[in-house]
Symmetry: C2
Subunit: 308 residues, 2 copies
Amino acid sequence: MTSIQAPEVLISEVGPRDGLQSVKATMPTADKLRWIDALASAGLREIEVASFVPAQLLPQMADAAQVVQHALRHTDVRIMALVPNLRGAQAALQAGAQKLTLPVSVSPAHSLANVRKTPEDMVEEVQAVLRLRDDIAPGVFVEVGMSTAFGCTLQGQVPEDDVLRLAQLLAQAGVDEIGLSDTTGMANPAQVRRLFQRMFQEIGPLTGAAHLHNTRGLGLANALAAYEAGVRTFDSSLGGLGGCPYAPGASGNVVTEDLVFMFEAMGVSTGIDLNLLMAARAPLKAGLPGEPLYGMTPEAGLPKGWRT
Amino acid sequence: MTSIQAPEVLISEVGPRDGLQSVKATMPTADKLRWIDALASAGLREIEVASFVPAQLLPQMADAAQVVQHALRHTDVRIMALVPNLRGAQAALQAGAQKLTLPVSVSPAHSLANVRKTPEDMVEEVQAVLRLRDDIAPGVFVEVGMSTAFGCTLQGQVPEDDVLRLAQLLAQAGVDEIGLSDTTGMANPAQVRRLFQRMFQEIGPLTGAAHLHNTRGLGLANALAAYEAGVRTFDSSLGGLGGCPYAPGASGNVVTEDLVFMFEAMGVSTGIDLNLLMAARAPLKAGLPGEPLYGMTPEAGLPKGWRT
């Protein structure tokens, strides 16, 4: 906020979608809106605010359209929604979402288990979404996050060539941005650097976000490796909410507060005010009482002499 | 353990000293010995087992000599002790310690507050220790860990030139190894890389361990940066015990389990068996009931398909 030049990295906050989708409780809509407002005030410029899935499957997301419509008042924030398929994309575009993100799993086992489709079937689904976008909302950005890019709890190792092959198919389909997700918290810094370097070689500037988890504590080290490989968009979640529904007690998403602290401490600007970011934990806590939050920087506080 | 070649990095376990010194409870001697035995069994090859300070100041370390003498049975482990001054060094050498580590703070404010001596006075103390070592135990290694190298809670920023100047003085004094400590959890990866690179330029192979804290979640990212700068010795503590006596609730030392997981996942050998390492938490918990332990890898478990 205090920086005159554009931020050097884009922090894409996924808490209101990925986080809220992963917890059992449903946050009341009014609390969601207050939380999103606080995130926007802190300087976040991209927020994944909802998932467009049937309400009977995910009651936490029943108010997705209302949440998108409210969030659009933040004209300097790109309002993003997750859509699992064409039907979800239709609803998200009607609600006014400015960026869609579709998960496409590299692991066939994971893909079949989650959406009963192979990765190749999902590329066709993405093409249908792109056609719809071209027809009714040509300004909207379509991103694919490639799940299980660094390993899969069902399949085990995921060959890097499989990741690159799927990325090529998605690039040919016309996707605007293709990111890599460490869905299962199996990535390590050497692998993250190598795989993103290969992504830049093969699909150049279509290479998108690093979506990293902190399941085994390597979240920030992996983010550092991705940054060094050239990545400039990072998904994370306030308080580390969500990202790991299958491992109770283990943290999932990289914690936004710690990620922003790392970059700002390194002198890499994020455009985010750390004090306001930490203040955005209050509406999150209010809307999800008793839910455990992560984050070392909020616990320790900012160092003595930290610039404001 | 399974690797035939020598490990590529040395993990120096500081829990029995740094960890136990930071908690209020005193671990019974028998539990300490069981814990150290478990650490040795897991493949650790350097363990800081005690601090030689007056028992009235640190009752947790009253059994230091007994602990060193027991630990020496692990002939493939280098048994290390912290000594604050010449008197401590005398006691540690008499007990048979194979490596001494002396903390010398770069920040005059921190140094005066802790030991009522300036950094320059401490260099003289180190010289006295080196003379003693030469006289009575010439095979013993003497390391200095430079505290507050990345920032100080009293002084704020610590100029990098001050760090390098003190390193030069210590090198001229004849210290065997000079490491950098992020005593206050203020380091960031850019700073860690830059400062260790300058250390290698100025004092070459005398550059020693990275002693990093996880106070704001950056511990492993900082370790990665240090590794990339050429550091091959890393201090850490099982369960993240200790390292942060002044910030209750905030973790201190880098967690050995997560650090070893990171390096092994990257294909950088540590010589440590991760399953045995996690099993070494049991004697730690038994000896310090109720003490909170950290570590994401122990919570999440090793990934599917992890080599044994």
